[in-house]
Homo-oligomer: 222 residues x 2
């Protein structure tokens, strides 16, 4: 069976789960406590982080971006990277946007401070960092809202990996209760459409020790 080494709240792992689910590729989840720096896991992925996909053939595919390109190369039937050259550039531009900008400006400042710092034994969240994270989140919600208002899906006319990358980050922050949907109605409408895809179900039933998501987290009609 195909295995995905992951962490429930890792947006990169969530992206891999959504892509596998949307392409209807069955997989088993294995939680990898990356902070324990397990040697066997470093042998799979020298970078030491999740997600890592291990195919039944034994092929090891580490990292969400690598998994995304790999799945599109090998299982192209449900195209998630766009069909035309221009669409592919736009999907990948947004993948890069969420993987680098959103990750550094929002996810590291909120999820990193509240969850990862504790797991890695690095102390309490910093108020200044959280404030910067919330400020950056408002900018990013405006940008996602602008895309959602002017296009059918974030990268254009078709549902793509860009939607799943954005939804992966937002869903992890939503689990922490960090998203005020009332202030971002266009983002909420787009997110409700992504959230209702069958591939999203596994994310909505995630359990994380010590964190209770808000009641709307798993609600498709929030």
């Amino acid at each position: 069976m195909r295995i995905l080494h992951h962490l429930p709240l890792s947006p990169q792992s969530r992206l891999a789960r959504l892509l596998l689910g949307e392409k209807r590729l069955p997989y088993e989840l294995v939680i990898e406590k990356v902070w324990e720096q397990n040697e066997a896991f470093y042998a799979l992925n020298p970078a030491g982080d999740v997600p890592v996909l291990v195919e039944e053939s034994g092929l090891v595919v580490p990292g969400a971006r690598v998994i995304c390109e790999y799945l599109e190369d090998v299982y192209p039937d449900t195209a998630l990277l766009g069909r035309t050259v221009g669409e592919r550039v736009e999907v990948r531009r947004l993948l890069d946007w969420f993987d680098r900008l959103f990750q550094q400006e929002v996810t590291v400042n909120l999820l990193g401070e509240k969850v990862e710092k504790r797991l890695f034994g690095q102390g309490l969240p910093s108020g200044n960092v959280l404030r910067q994270g919330y400020k950056n989140l408002r900018f990013h919600l405006d940008y996602i809202g602008y895309l959602a208002e002017t296009r059918t899906w974030l990268a254009g006319p078709s549902l793509s990996a860009a939607d799943f990358a954005a939804a992966a980050h937002l869903s992890a922050l939503d689990f922490l209760g960090d998203i005020n949907w009332k202030h971002a109605p266009s983002v909420r409408d787009w997110y409700a459409r992504v959230k209702s895809r069958p591939c999203f179900r596994s994310l909505l039933s995630d359990k994380v020790s010590g964190i209770t998501p808000p009641p709307h987290y798993a609600d498709l009609d929030f």
Copy 2:
């Protein structure tokens, strides 16, 4: 004419230049002073950073990773992302390694402190950050050395975008005189091979105001 908006010492811009050069695609360079936050440039790339490729057709391709995938999609003749599924996973794993790990652990701490901080008016380099950068650089040189000793090129039997990604970062640090090649002979031998490619010439003649590279920077037999 195809245009690449770039900065001479940006490793991501250098990667784009090397890929274009290796694929023998002619282009003109335009320097983009990203710290001036030029509105016309934000219209090309909302992320506000270099490189940005603009094709003669007007198609805008922002970001080194996006450019890399785009060039391979559209100009596949000189394959730089590997030929088999396994090779493509390994090339992209290393692209991810240099784009995220090397960038955050080494490049930001050295090039970021010494050059970008000045350009963005953020003050003097921090000794602690530089020390951490040099420490991380030693680990990364060991890893690159291990790959160079066990394979023909970094990702396997063929020259690939992984070699250019690594060389793009190392060449920018070498411009600053930050690489002690004597302590990394296997990396030096591999780098000499990459450096002697015709696509590398444009990097070796770069001029940057206020920084004089060490004499060995442009020497193919260093």
